[in-house]
Symmetry: D2
């Protein structure tokens, strides 16, 4: 089994985790190169991955000798251009969500991916690789809850990270594209279709900064699907108790809840104020397994020559719905899709 | 302390429970009369309350000697006329929700109640008397979750009662007026205002019967309030696991969940398939205490000469929002209030 | 239905609650008299129950005109003498646990009760009237967990009440007689037999005061029954989180837990440190319904002329086991029963 | 960093898992050889680990060229002899629990380990490497619950595996040595000492087979420690709901519960009978991470030349207590240690 040589572009918190997974937790895979515009991030990578080549330029990195694929964790606005460059360079591509930040970008990405059918393209909707979400999917497929007709999904960032969020509001694409996009993809996945309408409301309840940029710190979205199915999505930046990712799927014969309480672990603390269940602090903690499993799947596809279940079209769909939600929120109207 | 003499009109499941509470669980209160169009119900009442007079006619009952007040549990479409008749007869009035089934009826009820300021009028939004909902309200008032900006509330009837529901669809006023009206009132209560817009979606996922009557067996409603606050309400007729009433209040510094799992009691069953928490089977079980407490409050107001916190206007508001939700659902549009 | 006239002796926290239940929550029952050695308690009763006669002397109270029965909530060491006096005075008797504080007392009580077969005698093992414990019993009787062979039961007082406990250590009879006696009775009830051996360990982990009186602030007891069944009982005085009463019944085909988390209500608080479930603060809160239901049963037996399921012998058994546990703990040995 | 070459002896369910972890999940480690008396197990290993040498003889395997260490997962009665042989062959040794099945064996093992101070010896008390148990330990060390004085620990095998257990009863060493040994080690670890007395009761409640071998299918053990601390351990073979490993640590200022409900994952199923939490099915599922982490620690110690926190003496202690429990159970007496 030939060693696969991967590069990681973007070394923020998630990019660094991907680099660690590539370097240490994927048998038969090597972290050949990393890339970042941030000298401190590159320095940190030098310590952690001494054998990986370091680049400040993405395109230069693509020409690194013997590379098989690239993992893209750069800002959202760069995704599509880098996906294109990497595919055209003959590499397999794993890209973080969102696929693109406009509908045009997404359509372009779809065309480019279609032109490279023999290269793997995987979009990082990591929740689909989370063991809990997968288990729920399996139960649904086994008919345990009948026909699903409602998904409720929450993506709440901890208020502890609000300050760092405030710094990148202008570049985040807004709450729907930055966060709800995961819930949108989950709803599409569990309900098995694409929405026909979107209606969103929201506000800047904790911090007026969001309103200044036309964004919200907490917002809700209702989708309706072709068969009448419904989704309710709530995304927020101010959860006091931690990183709260919760999803409920209601069917005609039962319902499932995934992570209703975002428990940190199996320890309950009985103390002065009652019984406390501590919560997970962030996405790296909650989705530790999922981030690893999605790379496993990427590698499996590369080795086997098949394409993953998640397609570039899923990325387009999620971005389109997030954009519709943004428009609905800003213009206070129902948006047809 | 003079014995209060109350009558109960309507002896369905809830009416009968009210009659039991009046007869046996309110110190210093007597069940003087009952009224029903249904001979079987009257017969059953004769067994259970042998000392209470029995009437088939509401107006005749109002003339029963020495009556202080009446508890109205008749079909929704009769409420306003009976409230008016009772108030004009000089009686204190407790009425089940909804106040009325049209905006005009509600306005009429408001006028009639205003004309009788010395008689108590209490609308049966019993959830406000539930110890768990009250506890949540108190925590909010103490500032425990900061400023509330989102309410999520579920009212799900057990699928076990679907058949009996199917029989009264045409007379129910629809899912929003029949069920969501409680959640609407809760959202108004916790968020402290009235909605400015309503958007609803729904469908007949389990039973095509609902669609035939322009109704839904499961539907969702998003409200937005004047200060930007949001409410998400989900009402359904097909919960496999039981009677599921759940409410969540999200604030800037924390969130509360009331009855996230509608547990029947404190018994967990560890058995073949896992750990099972059985659920409450219906409203009489879930709100046993609340149904008693609201009558306590009614009696307290009658004795003390003060008016309850819940006003006739709360009833109008809930009905108006439920009607807006119904219009939004049927016409597939955002409705401004 | 003739009004029953009951007296309550002992007006501490529980005695006062019994008096309230007798006065206000039992239809057709009247609180005719109360008795306490404590003038402040009598004064408080005068305010709360103006129509009840007040006595400082138990025997004098027994002669109160027209009395049907008496509820005894005095210190444990007085129970048997007062039970005897009341029965000999022709009254029905409800007595708080424990039956007596020595085996001789209990045997004497049994004889006295046997001599008055037409008077109701009910011992206040209120847990048997708790809806949750009753539900567990019913599930067991239905065969849901097969044959029960192990009971684990906790009785933990909140550390908040430690100071008041410290004052009555010398008169409490010790941790086993004062607290574990309830768990012992539950184990006997669920396992359906009587123990053949007792082994106990304990210590004064929080407060050396307990050791000074040969008592423990936390102690464990293992019982074995005739058929090999086992019980593990843990009693303590120092629970940080509240009043923790929990029972588990393990059978050959499943197990039940009653109140594994002693939740205060159905409200979950999501806040800075995680998800908090507040706990019940004390016995009056946890067993509010049970304290009422046991008096209902007492009244039912009086009216119907039958005897309750709980017998004086259950009281003797619980006391004997508690005394064996105390001996085992003090003498560090296995005690055969 | 030189590649470490490890061998695995014993290829039952756990041995095979260890082999997988060595082969695929430890960076810089190689599965050089495997050993089993069972030809089918060797055949399966040939498929899974084609590059590993296969042996039917343990001593022969020890002479495999370039071996650094061995992982022993053979029947309990072979552990000490194989530990000795491996250490004398100059290898680092990881051995599954229990250390030995007699006190003499354990003392012998202690001597042998002491004679090889430069070789790593690690005993597989994997729970100490479980993230949840480690988290509890950390909270205790931070003083979160004050001074711990009571440990309650359950080890319940699923009834689904009863049949396979029945086959190896005669060779299991009995319930205390086979299962409770983990709980004993946990109690020692959390309470920080060694027990001074043991008292055990048990029975064959589900299957008379256990009694035939002087064993129990469910048994309880109470330990007392030098400072008065207590432990209650319950081990069983017949849990209907799954593999139930639960531990509670009670301190003077709070208490912790680890895995009170042995939840399979974060999915709750709301269905016909209530809300179901499915449970883990077995040890490989529950302790997947712990089995990997203990090997990580083994490798870390080998590379760094330091010894693990768990010592051979911990193994002796656990075995001695398990043997005392067995004696107490069989002879129906309190055993001093």
């Amino acid at each position: 089994m030939r060693t696969l040589r991967l590069a990681v572009a973007g070394l923020g918190r998630l990019g660094f985790r991907h680099a660690e997974n590539v370097a240490f937790r994927l048998p038969g895979v090597e972290l050949a190169a990393v890339c970042s515009l941030n000298p401190q991030e590159l320095e940190r990578a030098a310590q952690a991955f001494p054998t990986a080549a370091r680049y400040a330029d993405f395109d230069q990195m693509l020409r690194h000798d013997g590379l098989d694929g690239v993992v893209i964790c750069t800002p959202s606005s760069l995704h599509v251009a880098q996906i294109e460059a990497a595919l055209r360079a003959g590499l397999h591509v794993f890209s973080e969500k969102p696929l693109g930040v406009t509908a045009e970008e997404c359509q372009h990405a779809e065309r480019v991916v279609a032109e490279h059918p023999n290269q793997v393209f995987l979009l990082g909707f990591m929740r689909r690789f989370d063991p809990h979400y997968l288990y729920a999917k399996r139960l649904i497929e086994e008919g345990r809850i009948g026909k699903p007709f409602l998904v409720r999904s929450y993506s709440l960032d901890p208020i502890a990270s609000l300050e760092s969020v405030l710094r990148y509001i202008p570049h985040s694409g807004g709450l729907f594209l930055d966060m709800a996009v995961h819930d949108i993809d989950l709803a599409n996945w569990y309900l098995g279709g694409s929405p026909v309408s979107a209606y969103a409301v929201g506000g800047s309840f904790s911090s007026p900064e969001f309103a200044r940029y036309g964004d919200a710190d907490n917002a809700c979205l209702v989708l309706q699907y072709g068969g009448g199915e419904m989704a309710f999505i709530y995304a927020g930046r101010t959860a006091a108790h931690g990183y709260h990712i919760e999803t409920e799927i209601v069917g005609t014969q039962g319902m499932l809840r995934v992570s209703s309480v975002p428990q940190k672990n199996l320890v309950q603390i009985f103390e002065g104020r009652g019984v406390l269940q501590e919560c997970v602090g962030g996405f790296l903690e909650r989705f530790e397994a999922a981030y690893l499993h999605e790379l496993h799947e990427f590698v499996r596809c590369v080795r086997s020559g098949c394409q993953p279940e998640i397609t570039v079209h899923d990325g387009t769909l999620a971005t389109r719905v997030a954009l519709a939600a943004t428009a609905s929120f800003k213009e206070r109207r129902l948006v047809e899709l």
